[in-house]
């Protein structure tokens, strides 16, 4: 991956520093609510956005959103600072800073929004900004492909979510989360299952639950600061946030418990194995993120105090250590030029601060006392024991935590304290702007562990209260909870984890072999897109053939079918042919027109066709003459004359009608032609069969002379009663003349093949 990192490039530039400053300021702004929220519960902000659609830009700052807001802005500021140094000298750094900042704001909006539609707006904004971030190395096809994959998958989930939200709005009568949650669970509502499924699709795609997980490791194409940010506090946690946010209104049914438990547990264990399988440390971390998401979903399945507390505590812990570790890996990559777990080792001497940060984060991840990670694990086991499907949950959690222990050693211990590796570059300590982030986060993980009461009071308990939809009793976070079953499970986890680490190389090989045989969802994605494009091309081949005849046939066929079907489905009455009063002359005219028509159809001689057309035209004119329309008849005759003259002039320069492609036999065309003709005749018969309302004509006849001073009623209609028609009509004549003139006179200078390319032609000669 080409991530330029010129150590001498100036990295303190306005774009970077402004975004860092604003984000830090936001962090302070939210931090000031830390003492407020535990006391007051929630702080709303409302702006009426689209009142007529019941969509308000309303925000709601309670324990849950406050915790997220702090993580987003706090980690955001550190990551942005880190990125300024990491991407120093990159020609598109300014864009990067802008995207990262926009992403931060979108995420902030998402976690603060109270109105579901507002929430959705921000939800999609995070999808879009993360698309730009993942595709940041846009010249790399893989990067583009992965960005698109992430976009399409999360957008697909987003659309399901939108449907779910709309359904909630329609069935519950409000889009405000605060009202929905206050009303309690909607599990009794008939639309509940539909809503739940739609919302879960949205949340699961965004939070990469198995089997929709594969986009997440691919999103690693993004530069490291993005990974750190996306995978720690934010984007992928949006789904978890949503589940937590809607817990009071959506939980409370067996479906909720089962689905979340199964998907969460499967994701957690699967991802843990995959994490061990990887050799690229960034990939390893990506899969541990997946594990964390699975775990969070798993515990959100529960509704007891311990389960929710476990979810919230683990959320906090994970955000801190995962961001830290990603940043550490970035430094390692930056300094050594590799992220390969098999190569890296013994870096502690060269980069002691980074190593210390990595160690602290790793210990938190492994869940060693006295880190907050340990407490999280204890609470998690306590929660698991309270949940439905107890044995399953405990076993899965145990497996996941044990594997996590091993991964922590692989990521945070081995590269720094393991045997010296053969590195592409001689490592040095990272620059302070990059080290600050991981160090701060690592220390926080330790501090919270030492003072669990602080974290519990200000962050976790308000969040738990928000998720539970009821005030939290608290007091669950303790570094030492006495000898109990969770402690025993913790000790067993350490033992199992250590064993796994000892044999992880062996395990990795086995996993690689299994993986080779398992279906590859990522490749399946490509096949899906290929199949879609193939389908599209097939459809285009069938519909958009490029052949006028086919288009024409389809158009007439649609007309015929539409009319015929209507006639069959709706009563239109039968046909009665009344030929009384039709004399010899009329039949003669009809025969003339018929003869002309047949001649045009059958002949392949240009002259004969012209004659046929002329005969038809004269026949029609005769009808007009006989039936009291002299103006129309004269016009018809003159126009017919002009048409024949123009046709004659043009036809003589053109090939014979059927030069080279005489189609003698076209039964389908003939059948369609007869059908359309017959239908038209039938409808006209039925229409003229009924009595006629002459009130417009009567008016014209009465007013033509008395009010418009003209005795030729037809002409008066043309130039007075309906002048606008006539005006439009002469406009058509003139535009037709202009168009034809431009066509005939304005073509390119033509030789047989001497065409210039059209767009070269279009350059204006200035």
């Amino acid at each position: 991956m080409a991530e330029p990192s010129d150590p001498n490039a100036p990295w303190v530039n306005p774009a970077g520093m402004i975004t860092v400053a604003i984000t830090a300021a936001l962090f302070i702004f939210f931090a000031r609510y830390l003492p407020v929220v535990p006391v007051e519960g929630a702080v709303p902000f409302v702006w009426d956005w689209i009142p007529s659609l019941d969509i308000r830009m309303s925000f709601w700052l309670d324990g849950l959103s406050l915790m997220f807001a702090l993580l987003i802005t706090g980690i955001g500021a550190l990551v942005m600072l880190y990125a300024a140094r990491y991407l120093a000298g990159h020609p598109q750094y300014n864009r990067f800073a802008l995207y990262l900042f926009s992403f931060m704001l979108s995420m902030l909006g998402l976690v603060l929004a109270d109105n579901l539609i507002t929430l959705f707006v921000f939800w999609e904004l995070t999808t879009f900004t993360s698309y730009l971030l993942i595709g940041f190395s846009h010249t790399d096809p893989k990067s583009r492909r992965n960005a698109l994959q992430a976009l399409l998958l999360t957008a697909a989930g987003g659309l399901a979510l939108l449907a779910g939200f709309i359904l909630i709005g329609i069935t519950q009568g409000t889009f405000e989360l605060s009202q929905l949650n206050a009303a309690g669970t909607m599990a009794e509502h008939p639309a509940y299952l539909g809503i739940l499924i739609l919302v879960l699709i949205g949340a699961f795609t965004k939070s990469a639950q198995v089997p929709l997980h594969f986009w997440l490791p691919n999103a690693m194409a993004a530069p490291t600061p993005v990974s750190a940010y996306l995978h720690s506090a934010t984007m992928v946690k949006a789904g978890v946030y949503l589940l937590a946010r809607m817990h009071p209104s959506l939980s409370g049914s067996d479906v909720w418990v089962w689905v979340l438990t199964l998907f969460g547990a499967t994701t957690a264990v699967f991802a843990s194995f995959m994490a061990v399988r990887q050799t690229d440390l960034k990939q390893t971390l990506a899969y541990t993120t997946l594990m964390a998401l699975g775990t969070l979903v798993l515990f959100l399945a529960g509704s007891t105090g311990y389960a929710i507390t476990a979810a919230m505590t683990f959320l906090l812990v994970h955000s801190l250590y995962k961001a830290g570790l990603f940043l550490v890996i970035g430094i390692v990559d930056h300094e050594t030029g590799t992220r390969d777990a098999n190569v890296l080792g013994g870096l502690a001497r060269a980069m002691p601060i980074t190593a210390a940060a990595a160690a602290l984060s790793g210990l938190a991840m492994a869940g060693i006392p006295p880190f907050l990670g340990f407490i999280a694990k204890e609470v998690a086991y306590a929660g698991a024991l309270e949940m439905a499907l107890t044995v399953f949950v405990v076993v899965m959690a145990f497996a996941a935590f044990a594997l996590m222990f091993a991964v922590a050693l692989i990521v945070a211990w081995k590269p720094f304290f393991g045997p010296q590796g053969d590195l592409p570059r001689t490592p040095h300590e990272g620059p302070w702007a990059m080290v600050l982030g991981p160090a701060t986060l690592a220390v926080l993980g330790l501090l919270f562990g030492l003072m669990p009461g602080v974290a519990a009071y200000y962050l976790i308990e308000p969040a738990v209260a928000a998720v539970m939809g009821a005030p939290d009793t608290g007091g669950r976070l303790k570094l030492w909870a006495g000898f109990n079953l969770p402690l025993l499970l913790s000790l067993l986890t350490f033992a199992a984890g250590y064993l796994l680490y000892r044999f992880h190389l062996d395990l990795r090989e086995r996993l690689a072999r299994i993986e080779a045989r398992a279906p590859d969802l990522d490749a399946g994605w490509d096949r899906l897109l290929d199949a879609f494009v193939a389908f599209a091309k097939g459809q285009t081949r069938v519909i958009q053939t490029g052949v006028l005849r086919h288009y024409m046939f389809a158009t007439f066929a649609v007309l015929a079918v539409a009319m015929l079907a209507t006639m069959l489905l709706r009563p239109v009455g039968g046909v009665s042919l009344a030929f009384d009063g039709i004399g010899f002359m009329e039949w003669g005219i009809a025969a003339l027109i018929a003869a002309g028509t047949v001649l045009v159809i059958l002949t392949s001689s240009r002259i004969a066709a012209l004659v046929g057309l002329g005969v038809v035209g004269i026949g029609v004119a005769l009808i007009f003459i006989v039936y009291s329309a002299p103006d129309v008849a004269i016009t018809q005759l003159l126009v017919e004359l002009l048409v024949v003259v123009l046709l004659a002039v043009a036809l003589l320069k053109m090939p014979y009608l059927d030069a080279g492609n005489r189609q003698t036999h076209r039964p389908f065309d003939a059948a369609l032609a007869v059908l359309v003709g017959g239908l038209t005749a039938w409808v006209l018969l039925r229409v003229t069969d009924a009595p006629f309302d002459r009130r417009l004509t009567d008016f014209f006849e009465g007013a033509s002379w008395t009010e418009a001073f003209g005795r030729n009623i037809v002409n008066v209609i043309l130039v007075d009663f309906r002048t606008l028609d006539t005006f439009g009509e002469i406009a058509v004549v003139i535009v037709a003349a202009l168009g034809a003139f431009a066509l005939l006179k304005g073509g390119l200078k033509r030789g047989p093949e001497g065409e210039t390319a059209p767009h070269a032609e279009k350059e204006r000669k200035e």
Partner: protein, 526 residues
């Protein structure tokens, strides 16, 4: 005064066309055209004010009362279409300053362009069915001329298909008018509402309604009548294709909305139900068709079809919310789609082609253009908070309210597939490096060409963003439009006068009493 407010948006482009044509040999022609477009916009905004004040306004041309003369009428839907036409017209008139070569100007580009605008505007304002046909023809013949202007071989081929299919639809429409007149004896659309309801043989009315549906369906490019559109829209100059993309199909949709809310409402269970399926297939086949294309403008062309489906769906669902969504969609899509075609023209100028395989590098070298592509493209795909999101939101919500799950599903799915196509353009034209190693920086085009081309792109993008961020007034407007469509009482009253809003009595000879005032100011009875 109202009368002239209604006339001006039609008369100004005609007058501009005449003057611009007479001045076509010099550079004055393009400035006249531009000035005329500005005037048109001013006039249509004045009309908008009048409509906002009065609800529906109508005026009798030649001073003969409806239904005898021709009525011009503007309700909320009509006037917003006029305004948006003027905006699109102005945008492309500015764009043309940069794009259209002198050779095409001398052949009468500006006159054809202005008559096109006049025809479109006339179609939106007329309250008379036959007059609607006339405006359709004005629009059509102008579009024929513009489509083949420049005369490349592709344009001729495209022109053949475009002309052939549109002429057929026109004649179907014309025959439909004749038959409807034969059944009711009237042509005034407000008058037709009552007269059609009074026809005894309602089955026959539905058959004729089918002819209108097919005729308008070709114009609107719905499934399976859209062939002419992907066959032609990628061939003319970019300014022309932008106007076409923005306006032409919308006239078909508008006519459909008008006729199938005002006149053909007798058998909704049949006509509108049918239209739901047509709409869904239109949405789906359009978006799938786009996936097979690798040309900037061909992709956009298929997306026009796809989006048309949403608009007709709004009509087909026939609830206030759905129609509101349809109207919102109509307006939003004109802005967005015209803009995308304008962007494609700029991309062509910078990178040398519209074939996505042959261009690239625009993101790196022309970031400003990249932003200006993203805004309409993601608006089209329905990303919040851009205008397209609200349009889609309304349609989806309407279908969910009706518990039409499949309709909602298709609407959402098509949105997703739209993202696919838009990101394809983004990935290939913007992110991917140029295959020839060219850096398509903006200064590859002289400022005298670049500026006029960029100004409308920026303007339309700003509108997209504004509608997206502050949709409330637009939503309100769409709501009133939908209400007026669903309950045309105000429309009918405005056209026919008080007391006519109730369904007209069945045909009776006594109706022929002239209710018009004679043109007494100047003449009087002899």
């Amino acid at each position: 005064m109202i009368s002239w407010l209604l006339v001006m948006p039609i008369a100004i482009p005609f007058a501009t066309a005449v003057i611009a044509w007479l001045a076509r040999m010099g550079p004055a022609g393009r400035w006249i055209s531009l000035f005329g477009s500005v005037l048109s916009l001013v006039a249509s905004l004045a009309l908008l004010m009048a409509v906002l004040e009065n609800g529906v306004v109508a005026a009798q041309m030649s001073n003969w009362d409806a239904p005898f003369g021709i009525t011009l009428v503007a309700d909320y839907l009509g006037v917003v279409m006029v305004v948006i036409t003027a905006i699109t017209g102005l945008a492309t008139a500015i764009y043309a300053l940069g794009e259209i070569p002198e050779r095409m100007e001398k052949l009468g580009y500006h006159a054809l362009f202005q008559t096109l605008i006049a025809g479109v505007t006339g179609a939106f304002l007329t309250g008379d069915l036959f007059n609607l046909y006339v405006w359709f023809e004005v629009m059509l013949i102008s579009s024929f001329g513009l489509l083949v202007l420049g005369g490349s071989r592709e344009q001729l081929d495209a022109g053949i298909k475009y002309v052939a299919l549109n002429l057929v639809s026109t004649l179907v429409f014309l025959s439909g008018i004749g038959l409807l007149y034969g059944m009711t004896g009237t042509l005034n659309m407000a008058d037709l509402r009552g007269a059609v309801a009074a026809v005894e043989n309602q089955g026959l009315v539905t058959v004729v309604a089918m002819m209108f549906l097919v005729g308008f369906g070709v114009k609107a490019a719905v499934f399976p009548l859209f062939f002419w559109l992907p066959a032609s829209y990628h061939t003319p100059s970019f300014a022309v294709s932008a106007v076409f993309a923005g306006l032409l199909t919308k006239v078909g949709v508008y006519a459909m909305m008008r006729m199938f809310t005002l006149v053909f409402t007798g058998d909704i269970g049949f006509t509108h139900e049918l239209l739901i399926w047509v709409s869904l297939l239109t949405m789906f086949t359009g978006v799938v068709g786009a996936a097979a294309q690798m040309d900037f403008r061909k992709i956009l062309s298929f997306h026009i079809i796809s989006q048309i489906g949403y608009m007709t769906l709004g009509l087909a669902l026939y609830t206030p919310l759905a129609l509101m969504g349809g109207v919102f969609y109509l307006v939003h899509h004109i802005i967005v789609k015209a803009n995308l075609f304008l962007v494609s023209g700029m991309a062509n100028k910078l990178a040398g082609s519209t074939d996505l395989n042959r261009i690239g590098g625009l993101y790196k070298s022309s970031p400003f253009l990249a932003v200006l592509f993203v805004v309409p493209a993601f608006s089209l795909a329905g990303f919040p908070p851009l205008s397209g999101f609200w349009a889609k939101y309304l349609i989806v919500k309407a279908s969910i309210e009706l518990e039409m799950w499949f309709v909602a599903f298709v609407s959402l799915l098509v949105g997703l597939l739209t993202i696919y196509s838009m990101t394809k353009i983004w990935g290939m034209a913007f992110w991917k490096p140029h295959p020839d190693g060219i850096e398509p920086t903006p200064d590859r085009v002289p400022a005298s060409v670049r500026l006029p081309m960029m100004i409308p792109i920026v303007g339309l993008a700003v509108m997209t963003v504004v509608i997206g961020f502050f949709p409330e007034p637009f939503v309100q407007f769409a709501r009133v439009s939908a209400e007026q469509l669903l309950d045309p009482g105000a429309y009918v009253t405005a056209v026919l006068g008080e007391g006519a809003a109730a369904p007209a009595e069945p045909a009776a000879a006594t109706d022929a009493e002239p209710v018009t005032e004679p043109a007494s100011e100047t003449g009087g009875q002899p």
